[in-house]
């Protein structure tokens, strides 16, 4: 602690010196926006006797000028009569009725220190760090739990408030270990930061600190429970957001501790988020433990590709290595959470990577060759087959640019058999409303009845599931589910397991119909697993008739949704990656796999020439003749469209492995070698080309709704639904693609969390 004290003293003198010299300059206070960041720290001796300090206080100094809300927040007051006026540090602010004192202070630009309060969780009010002084109140009040009342005079910067914070800090640190130098939270710890800003410079506690036994929460979350300050954020997160009641508070007083009641792992696919919300180092990332300090890391704002949600992430890297993945705020998509697969798949980026172009020799072994040789072999093989025998398959993780180039190249070769795995052999790509989540992910919160058809959102898209869970908690919305028995973390009715139930609902014979028909905003969510079924047209037309009866598609609400499985699916359908022939694979002689690993290559003729272009030595490699190494999502700039039709892009965080190249560049080079030159040479050129196919893919970070095609008349299908039950689309949540299958952490998760 000696070092900490020194640092504290040094910062104080420098702060005081800076501000005192600055104040002498006129206009400084209003001119410099950084002024708000400087917190006044009152030297401690006066605070040991607050009564004396208040008594001897000189006449009130002029209040500081009004500040802008914390984080640039804006508040919209719907009815002006519902606004109340409160005074924060002497300045009036208008806030809507029902806001807490803490929120009012935030609007007034005062950031109140807090530990237990989190704006997405319920209010606990147990850490007492947010104490402020309110005029005419005998004691300081916990601002997070106190509603703002009209005319309230809140003081956040008075000696009483400061004394209160200092006292709370002293109590919190009493039982908190002094292991900051070996704590992974160090550098991004709320307790560390706030004790520097608001704490005392010494403690008076001389007894033994208490210690708590660590809990085993599984392979993802490391616990050091002695560091816990009992803020209960993790307990509230687990019950309210993740929807599992695994964590809880045990014991009372100094024996109080967080635990799982009985020895049990945390069985949630969102469990990694407790690492972010824990204000101290009690819950940290197990795979990241002792790997890096947060100030050594370079953050790159990117997009997750392990499912179709497109969660916004920050890739933290050090040198050429991805060290961790953390969420980024996006209210419309993932709020501030990400799934465990998104967060912990990164170690798969370092394993099983393809780093050199390779050709399979006559002995069946791969030999590293130069790019020139590898491309020449591929071009030669492509020339020896007829155009109808050429097939291209894009993988789950492909970006829009590379799929565009793949399609253009194969079209130029004369083949029309290009598709993306997961979309089935007869995809409906004409109308965007037919494969997108039309009510948008955040729009699901408006729904009052959900009908899930052949989809298990908990494993297919945990962030969408979290939205449904949130809606159900808030509005008690009803959920009906048709599909194989599955785990849900909210109340639901299992209506049936196959098309027969769907038929009953369409004909109005099912008891769930009454709920569906009386709903104001019914949301029907169809799983993309149905795309692979032979009778999918019939199923979709039945679902459309249900939507019509339930009035789910109107001008103000489109509740007919498709939940996609993979990051590449939406963009592939937008770009029109549709196979011409349903049996293309059975007759293929030249197959171009662009990261496609889950294609059934058994059907392929044995003399077919297979090119595998991808970043991982996964399933697709076993059958391939040539390997072309490409870059993974963390190493390239690529456009992805998520399941609701929002276009986002990844950015390169780390350099590529070995001699790998970006997918689109490899295909462009191949076009040159095979004499079918494509007329673009830059990423910008590819995007210009995309804008003539699907212009929504160049509108970055925007969601282009399919509002027109939703109402378009479609030809009726002659298909009949089969009796076959709906299947499970995702068998193992933790391992769905090449990256997650290569990941050791994901393997540990599958082993320990999936065993029943």
């Amino acid at each position: 602690m000696g070092l900490g004290l020194l640092a504290l003293r040094a910062s104080r003198t420098s702060l005081l010196g800076r501000s005192s010299s600055a104040i002498s300059r006129p206009g400084f206070e209003s001119g410099n926006p950084n002024f708000n960041l400087v917190r006044w720290i009152i030297s401690t001796p006066e605070l040991q006797k607050p009564e004396a300090a208040t008594a001897s206080e000189p006449a009130a100094p002029p209040p500081p000028p009004p500040r802008t809300p914390v984080g640039g927040a804006r508040v919209h007051i719907e009815k002006p009569e519902d606004a109340i006026e409160v005074f924060v540090d002497g300045y009036p602010v208008k806030v809507p009725k029902g806001m807490t004192v803490l929120q009012a202070c935030e609007l007034a630009g005062v950031d109140i220190p807090r530990f237990c309060y989190h704006n997405r969780l319920s209010i606990a009010g147990n850490c007492r760090m947010c104490l402020v002084e309110v005029e005419k109140s005998p004691k300081p009040v916990a601002s997070c739990a106190m509603p703002a009342l009209p005319g309230m005079k809140i003081k956040t910067d008075t000696p009483i408030a400061k004394k209160a914070r200092e006292g709370v800090m002293e109590f919190l640190l009493m039982n908190h270990p002094l292991d900051c130098p070996i704590c992974d939270q160090g550098g991004e710890c709320d307790l560390q930061d706030q004790s520097m800003a608001f704490g005392s410079d010494r403690g008076r506690f001389t007894e033994m600190k208490r210690s708590v036994v660590d809990k085993n929460l599984g392979p993802l979350v490391k616990t050091v429970m002695t560091r816990c300050i009992q803020c209960t954020r993790c307990v509230r997160f687990a019950t309210e957001v993740a929807g599992v009641e695994d964590l809880g508070m045990l014991g009372r007083g100094s024996g109080e501790e967080i635990g799982t009641y009985v020895e049990k792992l945390m069985s949630s696919e969102l469990s990694g988020n407790v690492i972010d919300i824990c204000p101290v180092g009690a819950l940290t990332s197990k795979p990241f433990a002792f790997k890096a300090r947060n100030w050594e890391l370079k953050g790159t704002e990117s997009i997750d590709v392990t499912d179709a949600v497109g969660s916004n992430i920050r890739i933290d890297s050090r040198g050429p290595e991805v060290m961790r993945i953390t969420p980024r705020l996006n209210e419309d998509i993932n709020e501030e959470w990400i799934s465990d697969k998104t967060r912990f798949c990164y170690d798969g980026l370092k394993r099983q990577r393809l780093n050199d172009p390779m050709i399979r020799g006559p002995d069946g072994r791969f030999k590293s060759v130069s790019w020139r040789d590898a491309l020449a072999v591929v071009a030669e093989a492509a020339h020896q087959v007829t155009p109808e025998e050429i097939v291209g398959i894009a993988g789950k993780l492909s970006d829009a640019e590379s799929m565009m180039v793949l399609k253009d190249l194969l079209n130029k070769m004369g083949s029309n058999n290009v598709w993306c795995e997961g979309n089935g052999m007869n995809p409906q790509a004409d109308l965007r409303s037919g494969y997108l989540m039309n009510s948008s992910i955040s729009g699901l919160e408006k729904a009052d009845v959900f009908l899930l058809v052949g989809t298990q959102p908990r494993v297919e898209a945990p962030m969408v599931n979290a939205r449904i869970c949130k809606t159900i908690r808030a509005t008690k919305a009803k959920v009906g589910y048709i599909g194989p028995p599955a785990e849900f973390n909210y109340d639901h009715q299992h209506l049936g397991s196959g098309p027969q139930t769907l038929q009953e609902i369409a004909e109005g014979r099912h008891p769930f119909c009454s709920a569906l028909l009386s709903a104001k905003n019914p949301a029907i969510i169809v799983g993309a697993g149905l795309f692979e079924r032979k009778d999918k047209d019939a199923i979709f037309s039945t679902i459309e008739s249900i939507a019509k009866q339930a009035k789910a598609v109107r001008s103000d609400w489109n509740g007919l949704n498709v939940l996609l499985l993979n990051a590449a699916q939406a963009a592939a359908l937008d770009l029109g990656l549709v196979p011409e022939s349903e049996n293309a694979l059975e007759t293929a002689k030249f197959v171009y796999l662009m990261g496609a690993d889950d294609v059934d290559l058994e059907k392929l003729p044995s003399d077919a020439f297979v090119v595998y272009q991808g970043h991982h030595g996964d399933k697709g490699v076993y059958r391939s003749n040539v390997i072309l190494p490409s870059s993974a999502f963390s190493e390239k700039e690529g456009t992805y469209e998520n399941t609701e039709g929002c276009t986002q892009q990844t950015l390169p965080a780390v350099p590529t492995v070995g001699d790998a190249r970006d997918d689109w560049k490899i295909l462009r080079a191949l076009s040159e070698v095979s004499g079918l030159r494509l007329n673009y040479t830059t990423l910008g050129g590819v995007r210009t080309r995309i804008s003539t196919v699907a212009p929504n893919l160049v509108h970055m970070d925007e969601r282009e709704p399919a509002s027109f095609s939703a109402t378009l008349a479609k030809p009726e299908t002659q298909q009949k639904m089969s009796k076959e039950d709906f299947g499970v689309a995702v068998e193992n949540f933790y391992m769905t693609d090449a990256i997650t299958r290569a990941s050791k952490i994901m393997a540990q998760c599958s082993a320990s969390l999936l065993k029943k």
Binding site: A429, G576, T692, A694, N696, E704, A713, P715
Partner: protein, 98 residues
């Protein structure tokens, strides 16, 4: 109207791009609204990609064999003129096949 059935024979892909709300795309939206069902019924295997995106000019793109594409801006054209464009494209496609 016999050419409508020829669409899938001469074309590999038909794309209609327009804005969901702009008045410049109104005629194109109207054309798609009235003709999509008929065209799709006659050419069930042909991808007729309807791509809506705010702010784009209405366009019609046809892809023929071997990756050859032709594009037309439809702004200012009436429904009948758009139909004429499509008919010409379909007939042009026949020459590409040879």
């Amino acid at each position: 109207m016999a050419w409508r059935g020829q669409l899938s024979k001469n074309l590999k892909e038909l794309r209609v791009l327009f804005c969901q709300s702009s008045p410049a795309s109104a005629q194109t939206r109207e054309f798609v609204q009235k003709n999509y069902k008929d065209l799709k019924t006659l050419n069930p295997k042909l991808p007729i990609l309807i791509r809506e995106c705010s702010g784009v000019e209405p366009q019609l793109w046809a892809r023929f064999d071997m990756g050859v594409e032709r594009g037309f801006y439809l702004e200012g054209l009436t429904e009948t003129q758009i139909e004429k464009v499509l008919e010409e494209v379909t007939k042009a496609g026949a020459t590409f096949k040879g």
